[in-house]
């Protein structure tokens, strides 16, 4: 590893930092509460959708109705996607004549996409027709991301409003996020990606025959449209089984850069949007700074491990593509696990144990380092609540956040957001490691086998979707347990946040005094980072010891299994 290998990450972060504030300004304009009336095709589209669905966007909802609407919407999407897969053999737009997907796998995939996880226990090119990919998965890619953004908007209203019992309109938040943000950005990205060689076609692939007589089917499909939203919406579910490592999903270093930028772009801009809408510019930079610090810390460990953890006789290119090389593959692996994206351009299971461990730890920390669209920031804000609470206990004051009192109910809800995924990961991995059906899924012996299991449950409960893909995740045991983890993890990430928003909206802001604990200082950033690392590290340290940590030690000694 040379100095040269640090420059690409630096350039990446610089581009992210430059693009985020302007995008945030746009987000404020189209999503902000007091936005000016909009004109143009997107406004027309927005109105058309409201009319078609019979929705009045001006109707305010209580937190309870907001949650009910979210659940109903997700429920319908989940059911429809399951049925669509189970009937695909009889439906049109199936040029390759793919068979119906059996129930456990169809349900697992439907949960996976409805919860913004995009865990894939199948290979897209041989399992799902273009109809299911577009009308099923593609739609959930948009709306699951938009649901995360909606919940963030509800939370912001909770912070801003005083003495109100409503948090906005779920339908309106969802539609605005899709129409004004995800759709136009996806269009732009999709066209740029096609320019790099990502395919976009509705016909079946031609069978190519070389002069020497060897045959190879060129798999075609509506890929660019899918890839654009899967990256921008922190979804991560590839059209092909190998995701963004496939040359048709990610053909050049530039397409790689674009896709990698798309992973963190919206989550990063949302931090600045939050700061502007709550009138707390400095607060935004504090949050962004903590996120950046954690990103760089993880990246440094992962890069150093990948380049240096063993002598030159370990060729680090297994599971990596020549057009990306080691640096870009590690940068992607860290980004995709900081966010709840889960797309990959290299196989995480073949990374050096420490680099794979960083990916796992990023997910275990709750994906709050920029994180998933909307939910990353709300997760980080839950850590802020806990930090305020702990700091308040230390100085003997009622904890406050931006003038709102943080009381027992807020802390309870925040703890649900933070601890439910942790419990799901540890209990799920513990169960799988102790029953034959779980152990049978391992593809590796030694600590790596346990890492495969641990990563799977972290990825599912954290709604990430990446994997140590050697694990046989298609078995009924993993299909059901991981689907349950994904569903519970998602509900725990979204619903308590809306409940907190409802409570906060009713509270009055108390004026700032000399005794107020400021949450936009370097000192608070330090406390926050500490809380994140302590909750994450202490909870998972024993489990990580059995997996990546011991494996890294043995790896350095040259021990093989």
């Amino acid at each position: 590893m040379t100095v040269h290998d640090w420059i690409p990450p630096a350039v990446y972060i610089a581009v992210l930092a430059v693009l985020s504030p302007p995008l945030a300004a746009y987000l404020v304009r189209v999503l902000g509460e007091n936005r000016k009336p909009f004109r143009g095709p997107l406004a027309l589209l927005e109105r058309g959708i409201f009319q078609a669905a019979g929705i009045d966007p001006a109707v305010e909802m209580t937190a309870r109705t907001y949650i009910l609407s979210l659940l109903a919407f997700h429920g319908i999407g989940l059911a429809a996607l399951t049925v669509l897969q189970m009937l695909q053999g009889r439906l049109p737009l199936n040029p390759a004549g793919l068979a119906n997907v059996p129930f456990p796998l169809a349900f697992n995939t439907a949960v996976s996409f409805a919860t913004n996880t995009n865990w894939q226990a199948y290979s897209g090119e041989t399992t799902l027709s273009p109809l299911v990919q577009s009308f099923g998965l593609g739609v959930q890619n948009f709306v699951s991301a938009a649901a995360g953004m909606a919940v963030l908007q509800a939370f912001i209203r909770g912070v801003v409003r005083q003495g109100r019992d409503t948090v906005g309109n779920f339908w309106a938040d969802l539609v605005k996020s899709v129409v004004h943000v995800l759709l136009p950005l996806s269009l732009l990205w999709a066209v740029l990606l096609i320019g790099q060689g990502v395919i976009q076609s509705c016909s079946a692939g031609p069978a190519a025959v070389t002069p020497s007589g060897a045959a190879q089917t060129v798999p075609l499909g509506p890929v660019a449209s899918q890839i654009a939203i899967k990256q921008l919406g922190t979804n991560g579910g590839g059209y092909f089984g190998v995701n963004s490592a496939h040359p048709f999903e990610n053909p050049t270093p530039f397409s790689d850069f674009l896709e990698m930028l798309a992973i963190l772009l919206i989550p990063s801009a949302l931090v600045f949007m939050y700061a502007r809408l709550t009138g707390q510019k400095k607060q935004g930079w504090m949050l962004w700074g903590v996120m950046l610090f954690l990103l760089i810390a993880g990246l440094s460990v992962a890069l150093a491990a990948e380049f240096h953890s063993r002598g030159p006789d370990w060729p680090a290119m297994e599971g990596k593509e020549q057009r990306f090389g080691i640096t870009d593959s590690v940068l992607w692996a860290v980004n995709t696990t900081c966010a709840s994206n889960g797309s990959v351009n290299a196989m995480h299971g073949s990374l050096s144990p420490a680099a794979g461990g960083v990916a796992m730890l990023n997910i275990m920390l709750g994906e709050v380092v920029f994180g998933g669209v909307g939910v990353g920031l709300t997760g980080m804000l839950m850590f802020v609540f806990v930090s305020v609470f702990i700091a308040g206990l230390m100085v003997g004051r009622t904890p406050e956040y931006l003038g709102k009192k943080i009381e027992a109910s807020e802390i309870k809800m925040a703890m649900i957001v933070l601890l439910v995924p942790n419990a799901l990961i540890l209990l799920g991995a513990g169960l799988a490691a102790s029953v034959p059906a779980g152990l049978a899924g391992r593809s590796a012996a030694g600590p790596h086998g346990f890492s495969e299991i641990l990563y799977a449950f972290a990825s599912a409960a954290g709604n990430n979707g990446s994997a140590f893909a050697g694990l046989g995740a298609g078995s009924p045991f993993y299909c059901t347990t991981l689907a349950a983890a994904m569903l519970a993890g998602r509900l725990a990430a979204l619903l308590p946040v809306v409940a907190i928003a409802g409570g906060l909206a009713a509270k009055r802001r108390s004026p700032e005094t000399a005794g107020t604990l400021r949450t936009d200082t370097a000192l608070f950033a330090f406390v926050l980072t500490g809380v994140i690392l302590i909750v994450g590290a202490l909870t998972f340290f024993p489990a990580l010891c059995l997996g990546p940590i011991v494996e890294q030690g043995l790896f350095g000694l040259g021990r093989l299994f």
Partner: protein, 213 residues
Amino acid sequence: MKVRSVWLKAFGLWAALTLLCGGAYPLLVTVVGRLLFPEKAGGSLLRSGEKVVGSSLLARAPAGPGYFRPRPSACSWSTLPSGASNAAPTGAALTDSVRIRRARFQTENEPADGAEVPAEMLCASASGLDPHISVESARLQAGRVARERGLDEKTGAGLQKLIEDRTEPRLWGLFGLPRVNVTLMNFMLDTIPEFRNFHQEDGHDARPDPAEK
């Protein structure tokens, strides 16, 4: 709000967004892609006359000693489905594969003493379809390819020149690795007249049978 009306609205919105995001959006991207980048949207196909012989973005199974060898593939260069080994870094299986691949590369190409076999030729790619290899391994293979095709010294030098010309650089000098596209190189070996074995044109393969060596 009544629960029933919530379900109705949820259904209406799901239907509307399905048409928009699942129907209109991919269709629009397809149309724009077709108009702006028809070749690329269609899979960057390589054609010999009317016949499709492959895609320049996908590796093909090794075609013989007279062609460049692509990176190892865990899915045997199949596209349905593509796949990686997901081999554990501490797995004995990976170490064994690396040893076998190193020996094969050295036997095939007889690199000069002490020349290290480039890492990407020892490792299966992430997609199993990686069309690229490093410039070093293209150079190391060029001698064998020229010999097997019976190219004279001048044409062999031309092949080395072709590798230089076809080297794809890093993006902005930073991202990715310098690389040579094996699928394209092999396509050119078949289509550029000076690199074709002269006897191939009348249907005979003049390459020596490996079994005779």
